[in-house]
Symmetry: C2
Subunit: 253 residues, 2 copies
């Protein structure tokens, strides 16, 4: 069973891991453990300790905050472009947010201690993690801005696109209820908005499934936030990025 799964997956399906040199990737691959990440699994609670960092490949994780009254709001998402657990090497060990799987799938995990050791070498892994952290911060910023100024429809479009970018197909497996709790809005608001988008021919959906039919149409209904995040991720994490420039004068390199 494990062998079957392994043959279908490769650490390079995670774009952060893929950005590492073959040398470093070979070095850490023995420590990467393929794990199933089922919908709803909580990878850490607010204030909890992480035993592993996670590199999703087909799963998507939501970083969100649960308020005293139980309401939730997503702060950022983590898919195959990223890693869960940056607080380990940032020095705080915990965060005030929670992480849960909202699109089931697989990912690789690595023991926290190994990750910290690798980070502390100060080499390409550290630089990659720091660049990713900055990209994640951009996503958080844009979430804040979007929450302040944009309509539910704009936010839904943004969110669908960001999620779609992390998936191999154009179909999302999730209920409107789930989306509403991610965006921190009413479920009825999603029903209404999704209905509009379907009427416009941008998406189609049935109970628990959403298919994107017209990606560029969705983009034009989304707010600017989507492209800001997407472009910043590309700028910071494309292989030809500022990595080398940054390394100038770095005694680690």
């Amino acid at each position: 069973m494990v062998a079957v799964i392994s043959s279908q997956h490769d650490p390079r399906q995670n774009r952060l891991l893929a950005a590492l040199s073959a040398e470093i990737l070979d070095q850490i691959t023995p420590h990467l453990e393929l794990v199933s990440m089922p919908l709803g699994e909580v990878l850490y609670e607010s204030g909890g300790q992480l035993q592993h960092v996670f590199f999703p490949i087909t799963a998507i994780i939501s970083l969100h905050y649960i308020m005293e009254n139980g309401a939730t709001a997503e702060i950022a998402g983590v898919g195959n472009e990223g890693v869960l657990g940056i607080s380990l090497f940032m020095g705080g060990n915990t965060t005030t947010s929670r992480a849960a799987v909202y699109t089931g799938g697989h990912g690789y995990r690595m023991k926290a201690r190994l990750m910290v050791e690798e980070f502390n070498r100060g080499g390409p892994m550290m630089r990659l993690m720091l660049r990713y952290t900055q990209a994640l911060m951009t996503q958080m910023c844009q979430t804040a801005v979007c929450n302040r100024h944009h309509s539910v429809e704009q936010q839904l479009c943004r969110w669908l696109l960001l999620t779609l970018d992390r998936l191999p197909s154009n179909e999302l497996i999730m209920t409107q209820e789930l989306i509403s709790s991610m965006l921190g809005v009413r479920r009825e608001g999603i029903t209404e908005t999704a209905g509009n988008l379907q009427r416009l021919g941008l998406i189609s959906y049935r109970r628990g499934h959403i298919t994107v039919l017209d990606r560029s149409g969705l983009e034009s209904h989304a707010c600017e936030c989507y492209l800001v995040v997407k472009n910043e991720f590309h700028r910071l994490l494309s292989e030809t990025s500022a990595a080398n420039k940054f390394a100038t004068g770095n005694k680690f390199s």
Copy 2:
């Protein structure tokens, strides 16, 4: 003139600098330049290059995003507890946000290249900057959450308290117009809310000045977000924090 100013200020007035060991602080002090940071000064524009990092002592800086339609929203603030310019060592060099002074005062600045070099030593400066970065992320997260779920009144209370914590006195020098653009709400909304708070005896204000009369009253009108941010800054940046724990197994230390 410079001598007079210098005699009144000390790098230790910035709590990040104060958290460094005397040895390291002595080492970088020659490179710290005391600068005046007048209200409205733009320290960097979205996408621009930073020539310096800034350690505010009496000034407060707003990190905010300007939308295509000109509306603004603050993402986080930076005062004497922090540093402006983390994108320099995170590897991205620029951010999508903008930084402007919203409470005039003074701060120290340091040439960007020197900061990067110091960071790249991988020692206490790096660990301090990373812990600060995580605290800043918490602030961003809470801004996102607060924007989603809390009323203008709750947000105003939170914002006043966060600003107050960065000031030596209980008086804020700023117009309602300025506050509204920080929070990304209408100026009238601030007028109305500030009027309520004054009627309740929590604050008093006159044209361009706000005095906090009842701090704990303000706290009880604020949402949970204020304390989340405050506690997380304390946890991550108090001198007895996880710094040493983090350093365990770190070949730099």
